[in-house]
Structure formats: C-alpha cells, structure tokens
C-alpha cells in the first residue's frame, strides 16, 4: 500500500504540474531572464492559483537574484520549488490526536461540496488503523441524505455514527454525541457539519453555537477545528479561510481533490496569509486516499521540478 500511496500522490501532483511545467519549459530553456521572461513566469504562477501577492514576491526575488542571467529550465524549476517549499514548510504539521482527552473532539467545517464527509470517513479509517476508537457525528442535518452518507462511512470504518432526524439542531446533537462518547470510552469524536458559505452570517453563527454548547460539557472543546478546502478553489479561499478562522477558530486545513487538474497553488497564498497548519491532503474518493502534506513534494509537484 505504501508504494501505491506515494506513486499516486506523485501522479496526481505531476498532473497538476503538467501545464505549468510545460509552460516553464517552453519559456526558459536556455533563455535570458529578462523582463519579458519574468512577465511570462508571473503569468504562469498566477495561472496556478498562487495569487498575485505571492507571485509578485517570488518574481521580485527572481529579479534580484537572477535578472539578466542565462537560466535553464531546471534551474528555474528548482529555485521555484525551493521558494515555495520554504513558504510551506512551517505549515506542514500533522494533526496529533490526544486520546487522553477521551475523547479528542474534532469539528469539521467548510463550504458546501468541499469534501467534509469523505474526509471524515478517511480520518476515521486512519484512527482505526492507529488502534484508536473513533465516533462520527452526522452534524449535517440539513442536506438530503447527508446522514446516510456518513452512516455508510461508519460501516466502512466500523465506527459508531450518532445522528438525529432531518433539520434537528446540530448543536444539541453534538452535545449528546459528546456525552455518549465520554461514556463509551471513545478516543476521537469527529463532528461533521453542514456545508456553509462563509459570507452567510446566520449559518456561521450556527457553528459558533455548536462550539458554545459542547463547551458546557468540556470547556477545552473542540480540540481541533478542521477546515476542509477544495483545491480547485481560487483566490476566494483567502476570504473563506479568514472568515472561518475568525468565527470558529480553525486550527488546521485539509486540502481535498488534489488528484485532479487543479494545482492547489492557493495553499501557498494561504500559508503566507494565515500560517494555519496543513494537516493532510485528499487525493481520491477511496478510504485510503488521505496523505500527509509534504512541502517539498508538493512544491516540486506544483512546478514539476
């Protein structure tokens, strides 16, 4: 499994990098790094969702250190990867579960369709494999069949699923689930929530309520608040993460759908802006498709170095 694991990540990232790589190759093979070349490089980085700010910084660096030099394709890629990895290194921190909290409560939040439920299923499997006892809470009481979706993940990972009737109060459900988890000696309580857009203040307030309510039982809750972010998201992710962070004190990110053609360059901008840990990356729909986040691999994949 370990082999399929790595090669799959590399494959995914290589695909992500395909276009960027091609572009850089075409632009920089034995070419003088002049203003025109820098402008092209700028376009390529922007086209990878790195955002105009990060791009500007990288370009400024290149202008200072390499302007006018004859540079090869490989040099440019290597330097780019190093630059990006340097930005990402501080945020590559895995999510550490402390079973002594009995349970360690993880609240999973994000906009609609980002992959919260699937990610919870994958996390449950990982914890199960580590010998921990996970419990899942179907906190999305709004979307049709969201409960059933999580229940199937519960079956797949042999984790109990706590749920309530449609449109039930998610905060009350979370509270009851925590009571049950404490009684049953659960190690990790994974609370799913309904997807919500960050600009809907009433829905964001609901999230705060979940936290307020579970804190009545255990003031240290939730121990982790994970924001699940779709890698195809563009610059709006910066606002998205900012608002979620402010409202519910997000402690870390999981970036999903990195096995597609999206390059996930926004992760670089997010690392600069907020410095929130990136705990893991999702690279597929299967149970095992959650990987640790390795900055250099990610950066290399991004630029094709």
């Amino acid at each position: 499994m370990a082999l399929g694991f790595l090669s799959r990540l590399t494959q995914g990232l290589a695909r992500s990098a395909g276009k960027l790589t091609e572009g850089i190759g075409a632009v920089f093979t034995k070419r003088k790094l002049d203003e025109a070349a820098l402008a092209d490089l700028e376009d390529l980085l922007i086209g990878s969702d790195l955002g105009t700010d990060v791009t500007r910084r990288i370009i400024a660096n290149f202008r200072r250190t390499r302007f006018g030099k004859e540079v090869t394709d490989t040099e440019v890629k290597q330097a780019l990867a190093e630059e990006i990895a340097e930005i990402l290194a501080p945020v590559a921190r895995p999510l550490v579960i402390n079973p002594e909290r009995a349970p360690h409560v993880v609240l999973v939040v994000g906009v609609n369709g980002s992959g919260k439920t699937t990610t919870i299923g994958k996390l449950a499997l990982q914890y199960r494999e580590q010998g921990l006892k996970p419990m899942l809470v179907a906190g999305d009481t709004f979307r049709a069949a969201a409960v059933e979706q999580l229940q199937i993940w519960g079956e797949r990972t042999a984790a109990p699923v706590v749920f309530a009737p449609p449109n039930a109060d998610a905060a009350g459900l979370a509270f009851d689930a925590l009571t049950r988890a404490r009684a049953e000696g659960i190690d990790v309580l994974l609370i799913d929530t309904a997807g919500r857009l960050h600009n809907k203040s009433a829905l964001m307030e609901e999230l705060s309520k979940i936290i307020r309510v579970i804190r009545k039982q255990d003031p240290s809750c939730p121990h982790s608040v994970l924001l699940v972010l779709d890698a195809t998201t563009g610059q709006n992710a910066v606002q998205q993460v900012g608002v979620f962070k402010e409202m519910v004190d997000v402690t870390g990110l999981i970036v999903t759908k990195l096995d597609g053609s999206a390059r996930g360059g926004i992760v670089v901008a997010l690392a600069e802006e907020y410095g929130l840990p990136v705990h893991a990356v999702g690279v597929g729909e299967q149970m095992g498709d959650l990987r640790p986040f390795f900055p250099m691999d990610f950066a290399r994949g991004l630029v094709g170095a």
Binding site: R15, D49, N112, E148, Q151, I152, L197, E205, G260, R263
Partner: protein, 461 residues
C-alpha cells in the same frame, strides 16, 4: 472588508480616478486596464481570458472615440462593461433547450462537490412548477455513498418522480433503465445526475461519453462552482472535449466570489452559462443574465436584479407610502422601522448594496460584518418602545426618554443613541438623494450619497 466583492471595489477605485480627470490620454487607459487586469486575476478570471479581454478593451478604448468624447471616464467604463457583457455571452438569458422528442434527457456533469445533485433537484422543480413538465430524476452516481438516496429525497421535496434505486447497477444500466422508464411512463424530461469525476480520469470520462451517446441528451450541463480558480477552464475544456457541453450552470453564486469563473466559461467552451444557483433551497435557481453579472463585476450594480427582488419581497403599498414621504422630506422613525423590516425580508444588506451602483464600495465603507439581522431586530425593538409622538418627532428624545426606551427594549442608552444617529445619517442621505435626483444617482452611483469624511464606525441605514 474582505467579505464583500473585491473586484467591484477595485474597479470602482480605478474608474473613480478616471472620472475625476477631465480628459483621458492613452496612458490613462492603459493604466486603468492594468488595474482591471489585476482585479480580474484576483477575481479568478482565467489568465488567457483576462488577456483577451484586456486586449479587446484596449483596442476599443484607446483612440479617438475615447479621447475626443465628452466624458472619457464614463466612456471607458462603458467600453469595459460592454466588453464584459460580450465575454459573458451577450445580453439576455439563454433558456434550457427542451426541443427534442420526449422524454427529453438532460445530462448533468461536473467535478465532485460542484453541486450537480442539488442543481438536478432545482431544475426538476423549475420544470415541474414553471413549465408543467413531468420530470423523472435519475441518479447515476454509484460512487459517492448515499448519492442516489440524496437525489430521491430531493425528488420528493420537488414533488417529482425519481427512478427506483436498484443496488448494484452500473451507471450505464441505470441510464438505460431511466430512459426506458421515461418512455414507458411518458415523462417529458429525464434528468440524469452523474457522479462527480475529474477531467483527467480517463476511465470515468469514457463512461460519461458512453452515457451521452446512449441517451442523446438535449442538454449536457456542466455544473461549476463559482468559487473555482484558474482550473475552471481546464475542467470546462476537458468536459467540453469529451461530451460536448451545451450549457453551464454556475453554482454558489450566493458566495462572495462572483465574477471570475463566469467570465472564463463562455470564452473557453463557447457554451452559454444558462443558470446560476444561489442557495441550498430548491427554488434558489436563476437564469443567468450576462448584463447583470457584468454590472455587478464592474461595480455598476445589478439594478435590474434589485428591482425584481424588491418587487417580490417589498410591500408595494408601503413602499409607495414611503416614497411619498421621502419626496416631501418628512421621513420619520416610523418609516425607518418599516424600512428595517423590509430589509430583513429582502436578505442581507450587503447583497442589496451589491446590486446598487457603487454599492460594493458603500458596503465595504459601512462595515458589512455589523449588519446582521439580529441588530436590525434590536433596532426595530428600540423604535417599538417609543411613543407615536417620539417616532414622528425624534428631536423630543432626550436623556430620560432615552432611558425609558432603552429599558423598554432591553438595550442600553448607547444603543438608542446609535440608532438615533443612524436615523440622522439616513435622513441626511434622503436629502442628498432628493437633491441628486434619479439621474445623478444612476450616473454617480450610490457612492454619491456617501458623506465625504465619516468616522469608521458609521453604520448603514
């Protein structure tokens, strides 16, 4: 104010500078367009589309037409606006094509999590209620757990039929069964919801190609999240190459990311954006109007959209009464309260402001975060605790009355003061509006109503 539309405020900034100068030279146009370019990129418009757009706009803007015109700034705004509408697909909405032998099939495709299933439910509801069609919903999604059940539940909500779920069938088998059922049971439309797939997944793309061949859909709709970044164009291109997209549905337009992806789509695929999703409820589906979205992107406001929404929600009689009072210049706290109530009915203030000319700037100036329905509710309560006399003549309200009102509505005296201050600001705005007249408002936008220098903590309305 990050929550509000960045592109609108940036472009407003650029064009304000243009407007403030008498005559424009070529350098000005190029400078403005450079900022337009940056703003578009920050709004996730795909790079190739941005380049094409800027080139077109420059070609039109630089030269006699602009330099000799009476108001060059406005001329540039108009050119950029027109170019934007064109890039979005030209004026007017493009309806769904149902011109085929019944049962007409509609194939829904897209990436995971883009909103295909919810959109399928929305389209079903729309066809059923507005066009009186007999609709069958069929989920071909055997990948995601409970996806078929989700569509079945949405069908119940929409009041339409869904294809019975048979476990173990492949997507192709389900598609065949759906079309057979559609023929046998005489449905007008069969909506085929497929599993989310990555554009680079050759196996799954081949599968959807086969489904397309088999069901010969009148519409193949690509569902795309409006928050999508630069990758939107890769996805659109890949799906278009594989199955021939006939229309695009842009979802999550109720987020604060509108603009970018919409602009890219038409340019890359040539397929029109037909519908937009703007909420989780099944009736939150709207026709895509390029001219409105262009206006919103450029900070010129979606006036048409506001008027439509307002006429749906606002009590017409009350509105007319208010207008008469405003014209006479005797706007009192009673009117203020009824206006506050109407605002809560219409939705968040930021979304209303976003529809008005220059509204994006106004919304960010007044601090969007503070405008939540709870505060408005509190304000209505404060006014509710006043006597009729106080509401008509707010000047009466001094210290002891304030204390009484605060106690009556469960707030502090500061809250009462704040409300009165807002009312004053509002009355000021009314006076300004009356002076400006309708024409001035349209020309200068809402920003013309903004006081020149105001403390930061000023609240709206």
């Amino acid at each position: 104010m990050p929550v509000f539309d960045v592109l609108s405020s940036k472009l407003s900034g650029v064009f304000d500078r243009l407007r403030s100068r008498g005559a424009l030279n070529e350098a000005d146009v190029i400078e403005a367009l450079r900022e337009v370019r940056l703003a578009l990129l920050d709004a996730d418009v795909a790079l190739p589309v941005v380049k094409e757009f800027i080139a077109k706009a420059r070609e039109r803007a630089v030269g006699v037409e602009v330099l000799d015109s009476v108001s060059p700034g406005q001329q540039v705004v108009k050119i950029v606006h027109d170019t934007m509408i064109e890039a979005l697909g030209g004026a007017g909405a493009v309806p769904l094509n149902l011109n085929a032998v019944a049962p007409v099939s509609i194939l829904m495709v897209g990436l995971q999590g883009s909103g295909k299933t919810t959109t399928s439910g929305k389209i079903a509801l729309r066809l059923f209620t507005k066009q009186r069609k007999r609709v069958l919903l069929a989920s071909l999604d055997t990948q995601r757990p409970a996806a078929q059940l989700q569509l079945a539940q949405l069908a119940v909500q929409a009041g339409v039929a869904s294809l019975p779920i048979i476990a173990g069938q492949t997507p192709l088998e389900i598609a065949i069964r759906a079309m057979e059922t559609g023929r046998r049971e005489v449905y007008d439309v069969v909506i085929l919801d497929t599993a989310g797939r990555l554009s680079i997944d050759a196996t799954l793309m081949e599968e959807v190609r086969q489904i397309r061949t088999l069901t010969n859909p009148a519409e193949t709709l690509l569902v795309v999240d409006a928050m999508t970044g630069q990758d939107a164009v890769n996805t659109a291109k890949a799906f278009n190459d594989a199955v021939g997209v006939t229309g695009i549905v842009l979802t999550r337009m109720d987020g604060d990311s509108r603009g970018g992806a919409a602009l890219s789509m038409r340019a890359v695929t040539g397929a029109p954006i037909k519908l937009t999703g703007s909420g989780e409820k099944l009736d939150a589906l709207e026709d895509f109007h390029p001219e409105r979205v262009a206006g919103r992107i450029l900070g010129m406001g979606d006036v048409v959209g506001l008027v439509e929404r307002a006429s749906e929600m606002v009590d017409q009689e009350q509105a007319e009464k208010l207008a008469r009072k405003m014209a006479k210049g005797n706007f009192d706290l009673e009117d203020f309260a009824s206006q506050l109530k109407q605002i809560t009915k219409m939705g968040s203030i930021s979304s209303i402001l976003g529809m008005l000319p220059g509204g994006a700037k106004l919304a960010s100036a007044v601090g969007d975060a503070k405008m939540d329905p709870k505060i408005i509710g509190r304000q209505v309560a404060i006014i509710g605790s006043m006597t009729a006399k106080e509401r008509r003549t707010p000047d009466l309200i001094k210290a002891s009355r304030k204390k009484r009102i605060a106690a009556g509505s469960g707030v502090t005296v500061q809250d009462v003061n704040r409300l009165l201050k807002q009312f004053d600001d509002m009355s000021d705005m009314m006076k300004r509006m009356n002076k400006l007249g309708q024409k001035g408002l349209m020309r200068q936008g809402l920003s013309a109503l903004m006081p020149q220098q105001r403390p930061q903590n000023r609240r709206p309305f």
